[in-house]
Symmetry: C2
């Protein structure tokens, strides 16, 4: 007997038929004698509709009301799944965030889970009742509904698995696992059986949209065994685990890419203390996420060229912020390039294996792809290239690191 | 300065534009210096969609899950209206039933309001904040969401007005008041300026679908001044008040009708004590509402013919129940007629004025309309007729009691 948390995303619960299908998957775990808690997303499309209504009705944004509106999507699914389970003879009930209680901080619209009261849940789970919990939401210290930000249902599931001390957290989605790269780009992309948290984190934040980054980080810090698998196909998924659970580690596990980047270069920034803080502080205040940052010293020795990347959809906002502080900071020009992409090579094996970066640069050079910015961590190398070359680069790197599998069509 | 509860129905909040329109109506009361609490229905069509999902997914019906699903419709509207109010500079927040708390009994799907904690609400209202409350729902003793049954938002509004000791409860709907009869049938139907609770109760339960019966009964018992008015037109509505607030009382205030009735006759029922109790008890257990009941003694003196009406949609269910107890109760035949309608003449004035019933019977006889069953109360006379004659009867009675106004087209 094990305790399992299952999470089903929006496409997995898109309509009544699919919710019935989800009920069957839950039943399978119950029939194995397991205790099961299920976290559900809103039916596909519902959250977008709700978000659109809130933005249509008011440009001002009271995040507390936004949360009250948007959280209903998952509430609907939780009740429907409980009904579907009861319909096939499984004892089940829905638990809203405020009933559990699943407590978050007060950052409405983007709250963090702080504590989950598990007494009631555990009692029911042990009695054999399936708990169905709306993802993406909780209750704030103001006794109002909070939401965790888009994709937050993964985080709900992992947090719940941690709080319940679950043996496994299964994330059911519309793909059957984590691949060495995007199979839409590389036909020979292979499903990864086991991947480490660190790698998954890089893959997720580098644009492999299978799991929300935050949920992976949380799984890592609480040691939650994560499994990514398909709602629709009966095939093994990908297990996200500690490094020591992976016997044979490849040097490079996967190639991630993020096509929607924009590059900003500030020319001749006055090179004095506090300048970088001023620039990136202002961008952070405007909620612009800055990613890769490179600074070059110019010939005169008094100014510097500063280059960094932001999400493409943040470019206009970033430009506005920078325009506003131009006098203050002191730079001559701002050059924005919205046609860049980030490509990353990820693998824990590269820690012990030199030459990974060299292979990357060589491979790209061989294809005539210019590298604009480089950024590295212990287990990944990322480069910024012109976005037109994205697919070419991903394919070339996938081959260069020997990741291509058999192509079955 | 007054304290007002406003309630807006589903068609009044059917889309974002209409919710903005509602916000303007709320603003008008706020601008007058009034304290305002607003009760909202789900956007038109939403509740039906949610109900359909619950019935589609499971024929078994856990009313607690049904409630969790169906209550989301009003929750969405409450958040959206709060946003719309904020957008035009009005301080407002949504209050879910469990936040208030609006406490009900545990009859999920058809709960009764038991108590409303008004401390927090009153504090905010006095501070000038508009409270937006989802209608039709509350929180049960099991800490789970309850709903009040279809049309329950009227009841929410009246209960809230009573608890808040409000000066008025304005029910905004898609008609501009209560009419002497259905204007779709009688072109000369007139809007009633003031109507008593008792009359409104008869009009509502007799098929004038402007206000939910339960909400009128509650308004009467708590002395809540009710006003029915249009969300779309700026014209005076109908005020529902105590009899002493109406200076000149007509003898007959209105003609109500209910087209969807069915008549059941049980032939030669054994005439012994407990028989009627057995029949109507069994029907009540099956949630079949029985309305008009007539019993005739037959010639033999030992059996009786029993005739009564049920809602047409309940007929099959009723027939099944009766079939099941036929042996037990002892009757020879069951004759069902699904083609009957009930027409009622309503008015508190008839208490002091004899001859109202006579006028009704004469008018119908003159038109060749056969009266099948008669039922009376202090302030109404109802007859059952063949449903084909419904419109003819309503028009003739409307004229006979001098209710016709000028026809403007």
């Amino acid at each position: 007997m094990a305790r399992i948390v299952q999470k089903f995303g929006g496409t997995s619960v898109a309509d009544i038929e699919r919710i019935r299908n989800v009920a069957q998957r839950v039943k399978r775990e119950v029939d194995l004698g397991n205790e099961v808690a299920v976290v559900v997303s809103a039916m596909a499309g519902v959250t977008n509709q709700l978000v659109n209504w809130t933005t249509e009705i008011s440009r001002l944004h009271d995040a507390r009301e936004y949360d009250a509106v948007v959280a209903t999507g998952e509430q609907v699914t939780s009740g429907l799944l409980a009904l579907a389970l009861q319909d096939i003879g499984i004892d089940a009930r829905s638990w809203q965030g405020w009933q559990i209680a699943l407590k978050t901080d007060d950052t409405h619209g983007n709250a963090r889970i702080e504590e989950i009261d598990t007494d009631q849940l555990l009692e029911r789970l042990k009695a054999g009742q399936v708990a169905v919990i709306p993802g993406f939401q909780g209750i704030g210290p103001d006794n109002r509904i909070t939401t965790l930000g888009r994709g937050g249902s993964d985080t709900s599931a992992v947090a719940l698995a941690a709080a319940l001390n679950a043996d496994r957290c299964d994330i059911y989605t519309d793909v059957d696992g984590v691949y060495t790269t995007d199979p839409r780009i590389v036909a020979g992309a292979q499903k990864i059986d086991r991947i480490t948290y660190e790698e998954m984190l890089e893959m997720a934040s580098q644009g492999a949209k299978v799991l929300q980054t935050r949920s992976v980080a949380m799984a890592m810090s609480h040691n939650v065994r994560l499994q990514v698998l398909s709602s629709f196909a009966d095939v093994p998924g990908t297990l996200v685990v500690n490094e020591d659970e992976i016997v044979e580690q490849r040097i490079v596990s996967g190639i991630a890419y993020s096509p929607d980047e924009a590059k900003i270069t500030l020319r001749r920034v006055k090179d004095r203390p506090g300048v970088a803080g001023g620039i990136f502080g202002s961008l952070a205040d405007a909620a612009v996420n800055v990613d890769m940052i490179v600074q070059n010293v110019t010939e005169d020795g008094e100014t510097t060229d500063l280059t960094f990347t932001v999400g493409r959809s943040d470019l206009d906002r970033a430009a506005k912020v920078l325009d506003g502080i131009k006098e203050d900071i002191g730079f001559t020009d701002m050059i924005a390039d919205p046609t860049v992409a980030k490509v990353s090579v990820v693998g824990v094996g590269m820690r012990s294996q030199p030459g990974v970066a060299k292979t990357m640069f060589q491979t790209l050079a061989d294809r005539g792809i210019n590298i604009q910015v480089i950024s590295t961590s212990e287990i990944k190398v990322s480069v910024l290239i012109a976005s037109d070359y994205t697919e070419l680069a991903v394919r070339a790197l996938h081959t260069a690191y020997d990741l291509d599998g058999d192509v079955t069509t």
